[in-house]
């Protein structure tokens, strides 16, 4: 286990919200990847990764996000990010990855939007 790094998951309806905190790098990336893979289980249509508590993210973290994006795409589910701090934003915009992903300010934006669209 890595100190200063944690992933907490909560489920809301058919969505899984992963709140990740600490530094996302070569050491901690595999742990997040494993947790994300586990989050795409049956019954889950939307996986939200909350990056607000991330202090640092590098290309390793970026690859983990892209793998989750790819998995969602391939299995007909959705994957979204909650916007992180400036450093995280910088990595996403620098690499153009931000344009590929859904990014919101808070998980609630998608949770309510998801429910209302199901009703409609």
């Amino acid at each position: 286990m890595n100190r200063d790094f944690s992933v907490e998951e909560r489920r809301q309806g058919d969505a899984a919200v992963l709140m990740v905190s600490g530094e996302l790098d070569l050491r901690t990336g595999p742990e997040l990847e494993e947790r994300l893979t586990g989050a795409f289980r049956s019954g889950i249509e939307l996986v939200i990764l909350d990056l607000r508590q991330i202090d640092f993210m590098d290309s390793t973290g970026l690859r983990v996000l892209l793998a989750a994006h790819q998995r969602a795409h391939e299995t007909g589910r959705r994957f979204a990010l909650v916007r992180g701090a400036d450093q995280v934003e910088r990595v996403l915009t620098l690499t153009g990855v931000r344009d590929l992903l859904t990014v919101v300010d808070a998980p609630e934006e998608l949770l309510t939007a998801g429910e209302s669209s199901e009703e409609g």
């Binding site: 790098d25 070569l26 640092f56 590098d58 290309s59 690859r63 400036d86 990595v91 620098l94 690499t95």
Partner: protein, 302 residues
């Protein structure tokens, strides 16, 4: 071998030859409706805008080379980005070497000039690189003849007799000068990535870099040390020191960087080379020396 028209050096004397040389290159492309982009230093950009007029200036993508090519290792991917969004054969004017650039910048720009010969399939892009023959050193012009399959001299097109293919001239491979003896040196392995980041942030802050610059340099060095852990057998060595107006970080390891275009082309984020590509975007100059005995990557942040 790249055909002469794929990559030509425009040896110019004075503004008139400069403007005529560029006009002769871009006019047929504009007439044929093909995309044109020009990346030259800011004063030259002003000169060109005057000559082209508003109408044509709008049809051409214009860039300040001191920005897009400050680190010459960024240029190929910046041209790739234009190729991807503009259909048709791109005509690109790039002036990565101008009087007043530092010796190490000119060396890395010369390396870029050699490597750009292998960046595209034949016919995909045509490149013209202006060289100021009245103010640049003869050695720089001799290297330009080696790195360009075609030359334009006094208005005449000719193949370069000394063109050496996509191989940087020998001077580009000379070992980097030793770091100063007072430089900070720390060895690192897989457990030290976070500690190294903190160290770089502290040194960069102490050197007076802006807060955003500190974060960018920390990220860049982290990508280098991460590459070391991923690709080199053992850990590596980080050195940090100050030069006037900039902070320098150097990462050394046992690994070999086999692909000369590594970090210069924009691959998909899932494939290798992303870390080094990010380093090239984040730093003002990146110097790589690699071979059988290992690799040294020296990055400059202003």
């Amino acid at each position: 071998m790249a055909p002469p028209e794929a990559h030509r050096a425009l040896f110019y004397r004075g503004d008139l030859e400069y403007l005529d040389g560029i006009w002769n290159f871009v006019a047929p492309a504009l007439g044929a409706g093909e995309p044109v982009a020009i990346a030259v230093p800011l004063p030259k950009l002003a000169l060109l805008r005057d000559r082209l007029g508003d109408e044509l200036s709008r049809q051409i993508e214009l860039f300040d080379m001191a920005e897009v090519g400050r680190n010459p290792a960024r240029i190929i991917s910046s041209v790739q980005a234009i190729v991807q969004r503009r259909p048709g054969r791109l005509h690109y004017v790039g002036e990565p070497i101008w009087p007043g650039r530092s010796a190490e910048e000119i060396r890395e720009a010369t390396r870029h000039e050699a490597l750009i010969n292998m960046a595209w399939r034949a016919g995909e892009v045509q490149v013209l690189c202006p060289y100021d023959t009245t103010r640049l050193d003869d050695a720089v012009l001799t290297d330009a003849e080696r790195t360009h399959p075609g030359l334009v001299r006094a208005g005449r097109d000719e193949p370069s007799p000394t063109y050496a293919g996509p191989v940087p001239p020998a001077a580009c491979e000379a070992p980097l000068p030793d770091p100063p003896s007072e430089s900070l040196a720390v060895s690192f392995d897989a457990d030290d990535l976070g500690r190294v980041r903190q160290l770089v942030a502290k040194q960069a802050t102490a050197a007076g870099l802006r807060r955003e610059r500190v974060a960018e340099l920390m990220l860049a060095v982290n990508e280098l040390t991460t590459n070391t852990i991923k690709h080199a057998g053992r850990g590596g060595m980080l050195r940090v020191w100050s030069e006037p107006g900039e902070l320098i970080c150097q990462v050394e390891d046992d690994g070999l960087i086999g692909d000369p275009l590594a970090g210069r082309t924009r691959g998909l984020a899932g494939v290798g080379g992303l870390g080094l590509w990010m380093v090239n975007q984040l730093c003002d100059l990146v110097e790589v020396r690699t071979g059988a005995t290992g690799s040294t990557v020296r990055v400059h942040a202003r």
